[in-house]
Symmetry: C2
């Protein structure tokens, strides 16, 4: 029995694979199953467990991946965005460094208990956070699969293992590489626990049920079927959902919040932070449905919140303490005000700072409450499970280890 972040976990009795499908709005699953293109998912939903759970808001990649591997909300693990304003240094920085982590992961605890752990992530930005504290395990990204070393990654020649070249960082193949690597790792290394995390390149471009989306999920279904056939217990969830974020004219429907504050309070007085920001913004232009705002001294949240709440497309505006409580976020890292926009609307900083030239399809994005519902699927029936409780994506390890084996 392990004790991690106030939860107990049984040790794995069989190879256990937790999969985080980036941007997996539940309808992606429904549509590919209905189309008859996902036989493993269809069988698993009929014979195993298919639930819908709530992810963490902000519904972004880093906070949710870290919640899944720690089994805890951001108030515990500290990762509340892909990007933050570091009040200590006065700088805006990527939240990719383990120094931001405030809690150990279930993966790390399993490795300390002598279990072999493997982690494969599509983008390298997550690798160090996910692998933090994992002893003697394997941890690499598709993106840098050609740069692995035994010291850093616990493995060599990933390209030889997988039999594929390094995929483009903007491609469906970047995620396929994760699954292909997972299947080969399970065959050749047989880890006790494996965590696979994909990228939402496809989901940012293609709606549920489209041929491109169905092809992606059919691909995934094939690899998961192989892991299932290899005897793995599989728990699949997602970091967040995904919605179209456009106006009637098909252009992004954006509240440019820094521009708004600059008009209201003077240029540069308030600082708007978009925690979706990461090094790979081509497919979403750093536009998501969640923003935090640092106000200048002397301006109280109550002076601007009523007007913010009235902006068309704004769903919710909360002060720091209320946001920290409602969304279980670290209060010291979320600014004075948290803004969440509606299902079809995103929040930008200044119009001039967003390069939307890379958008070759109508914007789809995430970050808000409207992207909170995600699948939670296991290829086992659950035992001893209270089905009336609120389900979270970060229950995945608990369900797999405590209720499915």
């Amino acid at each position: 029995m392990l004790h991690v972040n106030k939860r107990d976990y049984q040790l794995p009795l069989q190879p256990t694979v937790v999969v985080c499908v980036d941007g997996c709005e539940p309808d992606y699953i429904a549509q590919v199953v209905a189309a008859g293109q996902a036989p493993w998912l269809k069988r698993t939903l009929a014979e195993g467990t298919g639930l819908v759970a709530d992810c963490v808001v902000p519904s972004f990649t880093n906070p949710n991946n870290l919640s899944i591997v720690t089994g805890a909300p951001p108030s515990v693990h500290g990762i509340c965005g892909n990007y933050l304003f570091d009040m200590a240094s006065g700088e805006e920085v990527m939240m990719n460094d383990p120094k931001w982590l405030r809690a150990p992961s279930v993966l790390a605890a399993l490795s300390e208990a002598g279990r072999r752990v493997a982690v494969v992530t599509a983008k390298d930005k997550l690798r160090r956070l996910l692998g933090h504290g994992v002893r003697g395990g394997i941890c690499f990204s598709s993106e840098k699969a050609n740069q692995v070393t035994q010291e850093e990654n616990g493995i060599t020649d990933v390209l030889g293992l997988v039999g594929r070249p390094v995929p483009d960082v903007y491609s469906a193949e970047l995620s396929e590489f994760v699954f292909a690597a997972g299947v080969q790792l399970m065959a050749k290394h047989r880890p006790d626990v494996m965590y696979l995390s994909t990228t939402d390149y496809v989901q940012h471009k293609h709606a549920p049920g489209t041929p491109q989306a169905n092809a992606f999920y059919a691909m995934m279904d094939g690899y998961l079927g192989q892991l299932d056939a290899a005897g793995c217990l599989i728990a699949l969830t997602a970091d967040h959902g995904m919605n179209a974020k456009v106006g009637l004219d098909g252009a992004p429907d954006v509240i440019y919040l820094q521009d708004w504050f600059d008009r209201e309070l003077g240029a540069g007085q308030a600082r708007v932070i978009l925690p979706i920001t990461d090094p790979y913004v081509v497919h979403h232009g750093a536009l998501g449905s969640f923003a935090t705002v640092y106000l200048p001294e002397g301006v109280a949240p109550s002076q601007v919140m009523p007007a913010l709440q009235r902006l068309r497309g704004m769903e919710l505006v909360l002060e720091r303490a209320a946001a920290a409580q409602r969304f279980e976020l670290p209060a010291d890292r979320i600014g004075d005000i948290v803004c969440v926009s509606e299902r079809s609307t995103v929040i930008g900083s200044s119009a001039s700072r967003h390069d939307l030239s890379g958008l070759d399809a109508p914007l789809r994005s995430h970050g808000g409450i409207s992207e909170q519902r995600v699948p939670l699927i296991l290829n086992r029936k659950l035992r001893g499970f209270d089905s009336s409780r609120r389900l979270r994506n970060f229950d995945a390890f608990e369900l797999a280890l405590n209720h499915a084996q």
Copy 2:
């Protein structure tokens, strides 16, 4: 100046066409414009007015069509569903008869003011409600276009006018006939005001951006372009949006509410009414996201509401008075309790009473708050318009007549 249901309307100075596109979730417009298949919409959104408005909840066809033509919510006009339990007679009946109407329409008032009015609706179920009180005008449905008479419909030989056969009631052509008839009526009869109302056969089957949906909207775009070229002022809105309503396995995600009440209170004690019910249920199986419940004597709403609210997929449960106030509904026609389900969930009565054999695609439906956002598009810029007010689809006539001409 006309005065109808406490609102003032200027008389039309040019042929004015109000279009209700059944089931037009705003993303349908966005995706077809982005795909480059709707040049009229693209130009109109750039040079005219493109807004998103709230429809009436329950987001069903009859209440919203009647709200649009009366400029008022159901609390005023009385039509709160397609279907209701008539407490006076103790029977469940279709709400297609003008006897249920409690308010005059703007169309009727315009006709009484000597303006020529034409109404074309896809399905005949709406014809009598929409045409009620219209003097000397034209009013017919695509569905029964071959059965028109001068006495009943104010026109003969619609098939000859349109040059098309009567379409199947389950087809995209049923709606195309509405537009084709509108263009011919405008050319040959030049009415002062025309109301066109389509059916959501396509939207129930096909998501925004799919080839079938884009083809439908491209078709519509062509006809609207012809009406525009003929000098018409056009206001386009919708009765309700549309969402996928399926579980992870692609099957309808249903709360069978009559079954639930039968278990809780005994068989047949409570009466669950699904106001989406109409004679044409093949494409949605009478499953929508809104239900009303009549409780047996001696059972108070407070005895069942907490458990109802906890059902997975239930968004909101309100007592009669609270529901009547929040959604502006006639309190005497909505039962003791109103239930609204979430974006992906529908409410059924008893599982045994729903024939889902006609569903040949994953269920898409409406009825809830999640389908409340609809487009409101005019091919003119608005003047003297308070853009901060809450917009409703039933503002269409006011915007067209008072702010666009």
